[in-house]
Amino acid sequence: MENQKKRQAAYMKRSLLDQGYLDEQFIHLEELQDDANPNFVEEVVKLYYTDSARYVRNIELALENGPYDFARLDNMMYQFKGSSSSIGARRVKRHCSQFQEYCNAKNIEGCRNTFQEVKQEYDTLKTKLETYFQMER
């Protein structure tokens, strides 16, 4: 039973990597896990969720009404991108970069549309990781 769960977890991780949801940074985090710190990655990811909720909320508020401070929007997204990068959230990171490009172009509609994509990718990843960690335990 245990071995089957492990195989499923390994298979799911491979799949997440192949489909580009995660990159090598996630593997690097797993390398920091050991018997004394068996849930390290899950703990880091939980912190990512907490930080992300805050970043997303702040960006949402900033996108609501003009005048739009694109430098500030860019800076907030830079922080969210950094966090995402630290856990290996590859697709989320890519959409964060696109958002920053729209900030540079001062294109508010572009920002808004891309932000929806960022949130969608984030939600998708969160669901998949929750499944993965359940298998891993």
């Binding site: 985090l29 920091l32 710190n37 390290f40 703990e43 880091v44 912190l47 990512y48 907490t50 930080d51 800076n75 830079y78 922080q79 950094g82 966090s83 990068s85 630290s86 856990i87």
Partner: protein, 112 residues
């Protein structure tokens, strides 16, 4: 038998995620780590008064400061400046971490 002193690193980063990862990495490298979330907190920990030693609040000497560059409030560069302006703290090596590749900015740090 004399025990080698563990190096004490003060890590400064506003991101919870990055602080946790840095802490773990440094632990694995057998360093004692104190992680704080801002430059302001870092200076408080070190004691702003230049007459004090480079002891942290818990009395442990800080051997290295590792700081993020881009932080709300005090940036890593501003923290670096404050540390180098202090007669006592200026001896502590400071490493700035950044994912930005802005060369003039990087040159600025080396001048310290």
């Amino acid at each position: 038998m004399e025990m080698a002193q563990e190096l004490h690193v003060l890590a400064v980063d506003d991101s919870h995620v990055d602080r946790k990862v840095i802490e773990r990495l440094l632990e694995i490298s057998c360093c004692k780590v104190t992680a704080v979330e801002s430059g302001t907190r870092a200076l408080q920990y070190l004691g702003l008064d230049g007459e004090k030693s480079s002891m942290g609040i818990d009395g442990l000497k800080v051997n290295l400061i590792l700081t993020d560059y881009s932080m709300p409030g005090m940036t890593g560069y501003e923290l670096l400046k404050k540390i180098k302006e202090s007669s006592v703290l200026s001896k502590i090596p400071v490493v700035i971490m950044s994912s930005e590749k802005i060369l003039p900015r990087i040159d600025r740090y080396i001048l310290f």
